[in-house]
């Protein structure tokens, strides 16, 4: 497997509060890497950092940020914008707010293409129609002339995906792409992404809070908690032998049909995520952890098992 995106020791802060603390991960060509965690764990801001789209007040530092072997941490905004939408594309949770309501589907899709590839308006529209067909939208010619509000939520997300694929990106960053959709539509969209990955050899960085989506789409998983990747592993060992107490807790919280009976309690994690100030040290999960010991407040060492499985805990076996 060749690495397409490599991130080493990524830190992102907002005025003294740390959002991401030393995250390192790799997305391989043709694979899906899921970043999973609950709200505020730093997963979305990590995605934005990959795209060079962090808000102006964010401080970012990183040991390495490489795309296809090229260092992209030091790129100027101009150089980054040449990559964005071309070789790296992104889709967001709410397609209604990320599509421009004032322009037709065709003109928005065409704009991306002409900006990176040039060519005539008609060539761009032809390309757009081709992509709409590829994401299984019927009568693409008609859709090109429609405005986002004329489409259903599922169709809008298909348009977003088609738009992201206009320039044949190698990496697609998907931030909660199906959270706003109904379950049946969610299955259809995820199915489409999986098919496109096989057809086009796309690498996908999938940001989600849903462990069902992780299990069904990921090749590799990184679990984020309070800005850190607390556990990373290929998908099978992560679900079969989770090590970090947070990963274990999270898995026990999910109701699985047929597994936990009615009136039997679900597993749960007490308390809430702490605020991480500048002088925070030790394990961020210790106040919620049943295994915590006094030495959990000293810096934690990452344990590495075989098969690329590592976790940030000194107690878990």
């Amino acid at each position: 497997m060749t690495a397409l995106l490599e991130v080493a020791d990524l830190h992102i802060g907002f005025g003294g509060l740390a959002a991401v603390r030393g995250a390192s991960f790799t997305v391989n060509k043709g694979e899906t890497h899921c970043l999973v965690g609950e709200s505020g764990c730093g997963k979305s801001v990590t995605a934005l950092a990959m795209m060079g789209l962090l808000p102006a007040n964010a401080e970012r530092r990183t040991a390495a940020l490489r795309f296809d072997g090229q260092d992209i941490a030091g790129l100027s905004e101009r150089e980054m914008s040449r990559l964005r939408g071309d070789r790296i594309a992104m889709i967001f949770q709410e397609p209604m707010t990320s599509l421009n309501p004032a322009y037709t589907v065709g003109s928005q899709m065409g704009e991306v293409y002409r900006r990176h590839r040039g060519g005539t308006r008609q060539a761009a529209l032809d390309r757009a129609a081709e992509l709409l067909e590829r994401v299984r939208i019927t009568s693409p010619g008609m859709r090109l002339g429609q405005f986002p509000h004329q489409l259903s939520g599922g169709l809008r997300q298909r348009v977003m995906i088609a738009m992201a694929l206009m320039c044949e990106p190698e990496l697609l960053i998907a931030d909660e792409p199906t959270t706003a959709l109904d379950v049946t539509v969610q299955a259809q969209i995820l199915r489409l992404l999986a098919d496109l990955q096989t057809e086009l050899g796309l690498a996908i960085l999938m940001i989600t809070h849903d462990l069902g989506i992780v299990a069904r789409t990921a090749h590799r998983v990184s679990v984020m908690y309070a800005g850190e990747i607390v556990e990373t592993a290929p998908v099978f060992p992560l679900f079969a032998e989770p090590r970090h107490p947070y990963t274990r807790g999270l898995l026990s919280c999910v109701p699985v049909p047929g597994k936990v009976g009615r009136d039997e309690p679900l597993g749960s994690i007490r308390g809430t995520v702490p605020r991480i100030g500048p002088n925070f040290a030790g394990c961020a999960f210790r106040d919620r952890c049943d295994l915590a010991r006094p030495d959990c407040s000293s810096p934690v060492v990452r344990h590495t098992l075989a098969s690329e499985h590592s976790y940030l805990c000194q107690i878990a076996p």
Binding site: S39, L155, V183, A187, R191, G249, C253, L266
Partner: protein, 319 residues
């Protein structure tokens, strides 16, 4: 036979929606001929996708909107014969979004006390005692009563909403997507709390959710709604193990359980999204149905018995 706790009799709700400045006014059928029963102590799950009418149904049962047709009865008495105070003593809501369902300018204590003060005639000391007891019961420190909703996390706010719903000791709690806005670890805490409280206070729940795994966990009986109608209803175990309606099957197939290796299911559903302003002829599910035959676009299926429940489909096994 005694009357069930809740009986919904052939309830319908139509709205008139303006289609825009120059468009004709359209008729939106949000709920169409819905009948339900819920016995004391039961949990009736209502599932369906956005726009299927499940939240409108919740509002009708809460007495917040008057249905265009049909009737809702509690203990055999029509909601229309009760005043607001009496309704509030019997039925209370817990809504999805704990950010918008709590008044941001009121202290937690006053929010939880409101159902008691609205009843009138309860001494202030008694109210205070009952509010403190209820806050502790839902896992909040009574000292938190002095705070404002903005100072609480999402899970704590949903605990406040539950305390407010239970402070009058109602019989029925209508939970409309109570955990949809919450993180999964907090969702588990809230579901566990709701389960404990149901046994402790002898409550019954009408539990509305789009999350089938959650409904499977909590419900004793499940109704599946599609475009305003209940297309299948049955005991939870029967519905989840042997679904009869193609829509129920597709919904169940779409549940992504956290089991790697199973891949993404193929639902077989078409892209024609349901529009309550434009209900298809015949079976309303036929444009998306993977097994529809010619007859389905022409004739509306009748409600047939299916075990302990019902199903509405020309092709589903009945009896």
């Amino acid at each position: 036979m005694t009357a069930p706790l809740l009986e919904v009799r052939d309830v319908g709700q139509r709205f008139r929606a303006s289609g825009g400045m120059f468009a004709k006014t359209r008729q939106v059928v949000a709920v169409d001929g819905v009948s339900l029963r819920l016995e004391t102590g039961g949990v009736l799950g209502v599932v369906g996708e956005s726009g299927c009418g499940k939240s409108t149904l919740a509002k009708i049962i809460l007495g917040l909107i008057k249905p265009t047709s049909g009737d809702v009865l509690i203990d055999g008495r029509s909601l229309t014969t009760m005043d607001r105070r009496e309704r509030a003593r019997l039925i209370q809501p817990v809504f999805q979004d704990p950010f918008s369902s709590l008044n941001p300018r009121q202290r937690i204590r006053d929010i939880v006390a409101l159902p008691l003060t609205a009843q009138g005639g309860i001494p202030a000391g008694e109210i205070r005692k009952r509010v403190d007891a209820m806050l502790s019961r839902v896992g909040l420190d009574p000292a938190m009563g002095e705070r404002l909703p903005a100072q609480l996390s999402g899970g704590q706010r949903q605990r406040v909403a539950i305390a407010r719903a239970l402070v009058l000791h109602p019989r029925l709690v209508v939970c409309d997507e109570p955990t949809s806005a919450l993180d999964v670890s907090v969702q588990a805490q809230i579901l566990n709390l709701l389960a404990e409280l149901r046994l402790e206070f002898g409550l019954s729940y009408l539990f509305i959710s789009h999350n089938l795994a959650v409904v499977e966990h909590v419900a004793s009986e499940v109704a599946v709604m599609y475009l305003g109608r209940i297309v299948e209803r049955n005991e939870a175990s029967a519905l989840f193990h042997a679904p009869r309606h193609p829509y129920t099957k597709a919904l169940l197939a779409s549940v992504l359980t956290p089991e790697p290796g199973l891949g993404i299911p193929e639902t077989g559903l078409g892209d024609a999204m349901p529009d309550p302003a434009n209900v298809p002829s015949g079976c309303r599910f036929h444009p998306r149905c993977p097994v529809a035959v010619e007859r389905c676009s022409r004739d509306s299926p009748t409600t047939e018995r299916a075990g302990a429940g019902i199903v509405e489909c020309h092709l589903a096994p009945v009896g």
